[in-house]
């Protein structure tokens, strides 16, 4: 299956892009995506990361489906 991964702010700077597509085995979880991204971009590991799946906050154990939209970002800082 394929999922889209979005980056914002600090994570976009580290990833060097705002959107990638990731191919995953079936039964993958959000944490599998996170581990792969940290392997590709080790500096992500210097930050407290938050995840969303389909625009809802999610934990690493959230199961993924083909076409899901993940986002990886640091603690929010609006206001």
């Amino acid at each position: 299956m394929t999922v889209q991964v979005l980056f914002f702010g600090a994570t976009a700077d580290i990833a060097g892009k705002r959107l990638i597509e990731v191919d995953l085995p079936d039964d993958s979880k959000a944490s599998d995506v996170l581990e792969r991204l940290i392997a590709d971009h080790p500096r992500l590991d210097n930050h407290r990361l938050h995840l969303s799946v389909n625009q809802e906050f999610a934990n690493g154990d959230k199961s993924l489906n083909d076409g899901d939209e993940l986002a990886i970002f640091t603690a929010v800082s609006g206001g």
Binding site: G9, Q55, F73, T74, V76, S77, G78, G79
Partner: protein, 153 residues
């Protein structure tokens, strides 16, 4: 980007300057006598919580995960109206580049009784800073930094 929670509530993300009065005034129903408005803005000097050092900011850049930010803003309005005796809420957050002194966020709450308006407005800014995926970059004369979490309590 604009959202509508119900009747006179609204929430927006905008790259245009925010007019405080028009936000405060849009939430006023005829039975209300008071609106409480929080106005956050790009500040020039920020004290580092850890080092105590004072940074001078040149300008700010805000970006948002826009569709999720609007969903979270809508949830905030649903929650605040369930928990407080208030009539209407307006939330507008600026995105893009902000010069020093420009308004980053306006939250207006109209209520029949001012006590609930104060409590709800304070609750909303705390929760917005905790849950809405908006990200702030401070740009200095000699560098820049994405802020992580609530910089100002």
């Amino acid at each position: 980007m604009t959202g509508q929670a119900s009747n006179m509530d609204f929430f927006e993300l905008t790259t245009e300057p925010i007019d405080l009065s028009s936000v405060a005034r849009r939430v006023v129903p005829p039975e209300c006598g008071a609106t409480v408005t929080l106005d956050g803005y790009a500040r020039q000097f920020t004290k580092d919580k850890t080092t105590g050092e004072v940074h001078e900011t040149d300008h700010l850049v805000y970006e948002a995960y826009e569709p999720m930010a609007l969903k979270e803003m809508q949830k905030l309005i649903e929650r605040v109206k369930a928990e407080f005796e208030i009539s209407n809420v307006g939330i507008v957050h600026r995105l893009g580049r902000l010069e020093i002194g420009e308004t980053s966020v306006v939250i207006s709450v109209a209520a029949p009784h001012r006590k609930a308006a104060f409590a709800a407005c304070e609750w909303l800014i705390v929760e917005l800073k905790r849950t809405v995926p908006i990200f702030k970059k401070e740009v200095y004369s000699d560098g820049e930094r994405w802020i992580e979490g609530d910089g100002a309590a």
